[in-house]
């Protein structure tokens, strides 16, 4: 069984890889094709995460195998060109994995806040 799936299946101690987390986050707002995922990840991370094709498609393969994503039908992106592209969409399992990871982050931020490690300008509410 794939490592991502093992995490989803119940090993709560294992976190998602940064690439998997960012892809799930990008797809949570709708179906996207490969290039659009890279751009969305870049936007979500304020330019801090630059994902290449190797990382993206390696992660997509494992996420598809683990049932976190599904391939949507091929269609044309009218804003780009007339090439047909494969779109990906998040599944219910993917949404649960993303929610679990966000909960884990929320807990970590809570701990950091208690330890007064977060700058006062940081406005995250736990």
């Amino acid at each position: 069984m794939d490592i991502v799936w093992r995490m989803v299946a119940g090993n709560k101690k294992t976190s998602l890889t940064p690439a998997v987390f960012h892809i799930l986050l990008a797809l949570s707002s709708g179906e996207l094709h490969g290039y659009a995922i890279i751009k969305q990840v870049e936007a979500d991370s304020q330019g801090k995460v630059n994902m290449g094709a190797g990382t993206l498609y390696g992660s997509l393969k494992r996420m598809l195998d683990a049932g976190l994503l599904k391939e949507s039908e091929k269609r044309v992106d009218v804003e780009m060109d007339d090439a047909r592209r494969i779109y990906y969409r998040i599944t219910g399992v993917g949404e649960k994995a993303l929610a679990a990871e966000l909960e884990r982050y929320r807990h970590i931020v809570g701990v950091a806040k208690k330890l007064e490690l977060i700058p006062k300008t940081f406005s995250y509410e736990v």
């Binding site: 490969g34 290039y35 290449g52 498609y57 393969k61």
Partner: protein
């Protein structure tokens, strides 16, 4: 340096051909399309400064190629396919010699800053003793060599048994011979280096 889009595209396509077959069939076309999209975007933004982008994408994709092959080997299910396919056997055989070859080249030709970087990484704080990480590096690089030799040898042996002759897959034969010579030189060098110690000469190290 100015990169013509068509040349870069062809080179990237050749790089994608190194992926395992199933992965390539599933994602090869999409990866090429994504690369073209990113290239087009960078060209519009940066104009001439594309060398860094192409280099980064190539290294990143090559790392992906190695990772996918390692995952297949780790899973075990596709090991048989790797050996039965003469192309992937040649690629795995060639790649298996790379870590040791690169380490030796860095050592012999004093390639800085890589040599300094590896020495820092593989020696203890006192700078003399090889660290545990260094021993793992060395052992892995050494073990990969005979493994690569066996993997590249299998298709050659199969051709011979089938009566197709030694040169049915010349690339496999070339890599097998090269790996054999590499291993032989390594073994002879170790024997020459360590022989005085074996016969009891003091302070031989």
């Amino acid at each position: 340096m100015k990169f013509e889009k068509e040349t870069v595209r062809i080179l990237y396509k050749k790089l994608l051909a190194l992926y395992p077959r199933l992965f390539r069939e599933q994602f090869g076309e999409s990866m090429e399309q994504t690369f073209n999209d990113l290239y087009h975007e960078r060209k519009q933004q940066a104009g001439q400064g594309l060398f860094g982008f192409v280099l980064w994408m190539s290294i990143e994709t090559f790392a992906g190629v190695i990772k996918e092959h390692l995952i297949q080997i780790k899973r075990g299910a596709n090991m048989e396919n790797t050996i039965s396919n003469h192309k992937s056997a040649a690629i795995v055989g060639f790649l298996s010699a790379m870590p040791l070859a690169i380490l030796l080249l860095i050592q012999v030709y004093d390639i800085e800053p890589l040599k300094g970087f590896f020495e820092t990484l593989t020696t203890e704080a006192d700078g003399h003793q090889i660290s545990a990480l260094g021993r793992i590096f060395e052992a892995s690089a050494l073990l990969l060599l005979p493994l690569g030799f066996v993997i590249s040898l299998v298709p050659v042996m199969r051709n011979v048994r089938a009566g197709d002759g030694l040169t049915a897959n010349p690339v496999n034969l070339l890599i097998t011979v090269a790996l054999f010579i590499f291993i032989a030189i390594l073994v002879i060098s170790i024997i020459i280096d360590q022989y005085p110690c074996w016969i009891g000469i003091p302070n031989c190290d």
